[in-house]
Amino acid sequence: EDAAEESNVSAELIALRKRLVDEWNAWRTLRMKEVGEERHHKLQGKDDAKEEIEVWVDEVIEQIEEIIIE
């Protein structure tokens, strides 16, 4: 049924539908990008906190090494 309808729709209607989908997709892409960026910023913040912990771990290892050398 769908296929039959497909062949009957005019070129004009196909063009209209193409335009509607393009408009919708453009708006969705924009909003999804914005939400993605906001999430990215929040995640970055968490990564920074983790990095600080890693630095602290490094320092401890260095102290142990110095004791061995002595």
């Binding site: 769908d2 497909e6 729709v9 196909i14 539908r17 193409k18 509607l20 989908v21 919708w24 997709n25 708006w27 969705r28 892409t29 909003r31 999804m32 914005e34 939400v35 906001e38």
Partner: protein, 334 residues
């Protein structure tokens, strides 16, 4: 489509909600009871009893730990999803008409009715998930009275402290819950009472339904109307179908006016509309009265409708639904 009839409510349904996983369906009704069902087979898992009036509204948190309900006995209740126990009860001067969790399940927004000298109020409560959930703050985190027309539906947005509301006048607005300030509004979003508001999967847009016979998709950031679906019957509910470009609309004439018209004119069907082309693509019959509430499974594999007739119908979509490409091969972003 294979419909499952959920029998258990004695009076009309008011709201139904799937949990985040979609395995559970919560239903509330004018019979004062909330039921929970396994969505795949329609088996009843349990009930949440204690309300002394119509339960108007329910929502479940993203972890399926807590359930909140609002009722005509002027209470907002917090329930344990797994045990069915009422963990906390907040009391107000008027009925609670709408509740909704935020995206993280840490806050609840509720609307209380305007009645007998009491204004319509919107309150936000912080949910304390520590311990068994029985230690909640009695006082709301924020409370305000929306100016102008009273609010009928509400939901949190992705912006902290901003809620989107639908009103009796047909207005759709954004409010800052901290200050009570109306950030933005579309006075003419609808021309009659807004009956439902459901968020998209990523919370960047929402769909509203109204007694004005239309449903609309709004951009939650700026309240721009993106799409309009004009039907020929007053609408009680509108839902977005995840992963497919459809919206589901339900309604029908009020029980009172149905008796004066033929059953066919009641039009108690769930209508499927194409989300982008704003064209009707199909209808599903079944209810013997107006459809009050519709919810779609979060994975888009089934949907449920609750009617004025007291029944809940769960429909699992078949292959043809997923394969159908009405109006061609164009790729549509969710």
């Amino acid at each position: 489509m294979r419909p499952i009839l959920l029998q258990g409510h004695e009076r009309s349904l008011t709201q139904i909600k799937f949990n985040a996983d979609g395995d559970l369906l919560f239903t509330c009704s004018k019979d004062n009871v909330i039921n929970v069902w396994f969505s795949h087979n329609g088996e009843r898992l349990g009930t949440y009893e204690g309300n002394n009036g119509t339960v108007w509204t329910v929502d479940v948190d993203p972890l399926s730990k807590f359930l909140v309900s609002g009722a005509a006995d002027n209470t907002l209740r917090l329930w344990s999803v797994s045990t069915g126990k009422c963990l906390y009860t907040w009391e107000f001067p008027t009925a609670v008409k709408r509740v909704a969790f935020n995206d993280k399940g840490t806050q609840v927004v509720c609307i209380t009715e305007q009645r007998m000298g009491h204004q319509c109020a919107i309150r936000v409560f912080e949910i304390n998930a520590e311990g068994d959930g029985t230690k909640q703050s009695k006082e709301p985190l924020y409370m305000f009275n929306p100016i102008g027309s009273k609010a009928t539906v509400c939901a949190f947005t992705l912006t902290p402290n901003v809620v989107i509301t639908g009103h009796e006048s047909g207005k759709v607005a954004l409010f800052n819950v901290k200050t009570g300030e109306e950030i933005d509004s579309n006075e003419r979003a609808h021309s009659d009472v807004v009956t439902d508001l459901q968020m998209s999967k990523d919370w960047t847009y929402c769909i509203t339904s109204s007694k004005d016979k239309a449903a609309r998709i709004h951009d939650t950031k700026n309240l721009m109307v993106i799409k309009t679906f004009n039907t020929e019957t007053p609408l009680n509910s509108a839902a977005l179908a995840p992963n497919r470009p459809f919206v589901l609309l339900g309604g029908g004439q009020e029980a009172m006016s149905v008796t004066t018209t033929s059953l066919r004119q009641g039009k108690f069907e769930t209508r499927f509309w194409h989300k982008v082309f704003e064209e009707e693509v199909g209808r599903v019959k079944g209810h013997f009265g107006p459809i009050n509430t519709i919810a779609v499974h979060p994975a888009g594999t089934s949907y449920a409708s609750g009617g004025e007739d007291g029944f809940v119908r769960v429909h699992h979509f078949d292959d043809s639904y997923f394969k159908a490409k009405p109006y061609g091969d164009l790729e549509i972003i969710e």
